[in-house]
């Protein structure tokens, strides 16, 4: 049970910090981690900058997993609002803001896949997207990210097909190892083994490419 403690034990309000220039131009120069400090102080304008930096990446992931724009947008909306409401829990020592947002999005998308049974239209292959949602490359950073994404897809594609299959079914399809074993008529241990071998090989490949930082 949650214990209501006397006022003296309650966390004190944050001390007033020096006023910061919250103009969008200034905020856009700040690193994600600095912006998250402002998000923790409920500064919506700082959150907007964070959102603009990562919303496309989050949507790309959700759309890849779910395959329907409307549901993918619902997932991303849930994830972003969760980020806004729980930003105080962001711990920079545990990874980048981008990875944190993508992690939340992935969790929400898996929940949606398992809850809503939208799997019949998911697992859209990269080539088979019914609608092309590509955006023009606008900045050098985006170009670098796309190169990196291509390298990552290449690393995944170089795995033995049976390893790629279980990794994709798990990560992008939201299936559990038990479901995958039943689907492929394999022992659970084999499925887990393929997952491990595939990730280990990708690890080696990505170390070579210096993609993992």
């Amino acid at each position: 049970m949650i214990d209501l403690k006397p006022d003296t034990d309650m966390p004190k309000p944050l001390k007033v910090k020096p006023r910061i220039d919250l103009s969008p131009a200034k905020l856009r120069k700040l690193a994600d981690e600095e912006l998250m400090e402002l998000v923790c102080r409920n500064e919506a304008v700082a959150f907007e900058v964070v959102m603009e930096r990562h919303v496309d990446a989050a949507f790309s992931l959700a759309y890849r997993m779910i395959g329907r724009r409307s549901l993918a947008e619902d997932v991303v909306q849930e994830a972003l609002l969760s980020l806004w409401r729980t930003g105080a829990r962001y711990d920079r020592s545990r990874g980048s803001v981008r990875n944190w947002i993508l992690g939340i999005t992935h969790h929400r998308a898996v929940d949606a896949l398992r809850r809503d049974g939208v799997r019949t239209s998911k697992n859209v292959s990269d080539e088979g997207l019914g609608e092309r949602l590509e955006a023009p490359e606008r900045t050098d950073a985006e170009a670098v990210r796309r190169d990196e994404a291509r390298e990552l897809r290449s690393a995944l594609g170089e795995l033995p097909a049976e390893q790629t299959q279980v990794i994709e079914l798990a990560y992008f399809g939201g299936f559990t190892h038990t479901e995958i074993a039943a689907m492929l008529d394999l022992p659970i241990g084999t499925v887990k083994g393929r997952m491990r071998l595939g990730l280990e090989k990708m690890r080696g490949r990505l170390d070579t490419l210096e993609v993992l930082r």
Binding site: M1, I2, L4, P6, D7, M10, P11, P13, N42, A44, F47, M51, V55, D56, A57, A58, F59, S60, L61, Y63, R64, R69, E73, V76, Q77, L81, S82, W84, R85, T86, A88, R89, R98, N99, L102, D126, L129, L133, A135, R145, E148, A149, L152, R153, L156, A170, Y171, T176, H177, G189, V191, K192, G193, M195, R196, L199, M202, R203, L206, L212
Partner: protein, 237 residues
């Protein structure tokens, strides 16, 4: 103290764990196992970045302007409430006398709610054709710091949205109550838990006409007909 056991029987779980492919019941057990197993923790530390990289391997797609606008509309309305609540943050809500006499534990709880004490109502104009949405921030007596709750009312529909709230105690569940002035809180059919992040969205059943407060207490599984604990969330309408 974590120990390194290269022969640990759980070492085959790490890949499935980082891919989020363990069964629901396995996840908690494995997390507890990680606390005491350095070998498995090392496996997870090595494989997690690879799983994370999968998220960025997907083809680039563009989120719609409508999605961005929806998110920012919610964020701005909540930010306004949170900023507005600053001056009132230490002021407890007054309790109704008759109700206080019947349910003293609720008054005690309300007075003690210093954490995240947020009082305010925002009205979001959703357009001339759409019903107006009222957003009421709630008092949250819950650790950790940062727990939030808002009640969204659109027409006759209301939804309680919480985040950062602790899990209910083992063997208990959160129950939503409606309190009318001078009357004991009425139970609803809304029983709920929260995600690991402490999030939940709960539709408020029933008619809110005359309802003074929407409350949440922790109750035994299956719910209670009258509150058995002090509220952890109170939204005053």
């Amino acid at each position: 103290m974590s120990r390194y056991d290269s022969d640990c029987g759980e070492r085959g779980q790490a890949a499935a764990y980082v891919l989020q492919a363990l069964e629901r019941g396995e996840v908690e057990r494995y997390r507890e196992h990680l606390d005491g197993c350095a070998a498995c923790s090392a496996d997870v530390a090595r494989l997690q970045p690879v799983a994370d990289s999968l998220a960025t391997s997907v083809p680039h797609a563009v989120a719609s302007q409508e999605l961005r606008a929806r998110v920012m509309a919610s964020v701005r309305s909540e930010a306004e409430l949170l900023h507005a609540a600053g001056a009132a943050a230490d002021r407890p809500e007054p309790a109704r006398a008759r109700w206080r006499a019947r349910r003293p534990q609720f008054l005690i709880a309300a007075v003690a709610m210093g954490v995240g004490l947020l009082i305010g109502v925002a009205v979001i104009d959703t357009g001339s054709q759409a019903p107006t949405t009222h957003v009421t921030s709630a008092q949250v007596a819950s650790l950790p710091l940062g727990a939030k709750a808002v009640l969204r009312q659109t027409g006759s529909h209301a939804e309680l949205v919480v985040s950062g709230v602790s899990q209910p105690p083992r063997g208990e569940i959160y129950e939503l109550w409606l309190a009318r002035a001078g009357a004991a809180p009425e139970p609803t059919s809304a029983l709920f838990g929260v995600t690991r992040a402490g999030d939940a969205s709960v539709n408020v059943p029933g008619d809110l006409a005359g309802v003074h407060q929407v409350m949440v207490t922790a109750e035994p599984l299956g719910g209670s007909s009258h509150p058995t604990s002090s509220p952890i969330i109170v939204a005053t309408l």
